[in-house]
């Protein structure tokens, strides 16, 4: 069981959260119209075997979106911070 350290609520089972995918890809600007930029953001994944920075929302808790560091090779969970405190890379 992944245990995710929610910065607001404390460490909880991952079942209280909703996975939101790769958080290291910067989202294009709202008025960006370039199809390739959005395509790469939406459809292409680094999908690393190893450290991964990813979104989770504590849907059954404080409903905050978090950015979590996790190793996909071992499922080792690292630090989490609120996404609103500064988005990905």
């Amino acid at each position: 069981m992944l245990r995710i350290p929610c910065p607001h609520c404390g460490e909880r089972d991952y079942t209280e959260f909703r996975y939101g995918g790769d958080a290291s890809k910067p989202r294009p600007a709202h008025d960006e119209r370039d199809v390739r930029a959005w395509h790469d953001h939406v459809f292409v994944f680094a999908n690393p075997r190893g450290p991964h920075r990813e979104y989770w929302q504590h849907v059954q808790g404080c409903r905050q979106w978090l950015i979590l560091e996790r190793d996909t090779a071992t499922n080792t969970v690292g630090a989490a911070r609120l996404a609103r405190d500064g988005a990905g890379a």
Binding site: C9, G10, R12, T15, V59, Q60, G61, C62, R63
Partner: protein
């Protein structure tokens, strides 16, 4: 003319049942008459909203996201970095908060009818809750006064420990019947009595606990 009914209106005449462990080691029921308000703020008005909240409720809003504060009829929870819940049996409070917090630039949403407040009380309360929520309920991790937002049978809920053996659970209104039936089902081995209380029944209702159930 307009009668107020709760979602559990049809469920509370269950009386009680003896469990396999002998007797009735739990009192489970609904606490009625609680008003619930959510307050949201933004960085630049956060301090002003906190001040307004303190003024209206008579106590500082908690900085801790794990422990609630209370004063008189009001109990305050910090449910998110920029959001509070205020639970109260003061029916006038929502309107006051809408006015005062609105003036301070924050947002107020009345959730009184969006949640049903259940109470679980008795020697087996912790054992029952260990079947309902994936939380560390050991005293060091979840002392009296602590609260947590979590999930009960797929639906979000807020669990509040208001006494040594008394826990209140705020569940979504539309899931309330389901959660209630689920809770009673899980409580069966412990045995239970069904009770209904009013939030305003006692002078410090949010702190009340039945001592005989220790």
């Amino acid at each position: 003319m307009f009668e107020r009914t709760t979602s559990l209106a049809g469920c509370l005449d269950a009386g009680g049942r003896d469990g396999a462990e002998g007797g009735r080691r739990l009192r489970i029921g609904e606490v009625r008459g609680t008003s619930l308000v959510q307050v949201g703020t933004w960085t630049e008005v956060h301090a002003a909203c906190a001040a307004a909240l303190a003024r209206v409720c008579g106590c500082d809003p908690p900085a801790s996201p794990r422990v609630a504060t209370d004063r008189d009829a009001h109990r305050l929870y910090r449910i998110a970095p920029d959001q509070w819940w205020i639970a109260t049996h003061d029916e006038a409070l929502p309107a006051t908060l809408e006015r005062e917090i609105g003036a301070a630039g924050g947002a107020v949403t009345v959730l009184s009818d969006a949640r049903v407040r259940l109470a679980i009380d008795g020697v087996a309360a912790k054992a029952l809750l260990s079947r309902l929520v994936p939380l560390d309920l050991r005293d060091a991790a979840f002392p009296v006064g602590a609260f947590a937002q979590t999930g009960v049978h797929h639906a979000p809920a807020l669990l509040d420990r208001i006494g040594a053996a008394r826990y209140d659970l705020y569940v979504l209104t539309t899931y309330a019947v389901s959660t209630w039936e689920w809770t009673l089902d899980q409580a069966l081995p412990f045995g239970y009595d069904v009770v209904v209380t009013a939030a305003a029944d006692r002078s410090r209702p949010m702190n009340s606990t039945t001592r005989d159930s220790r």
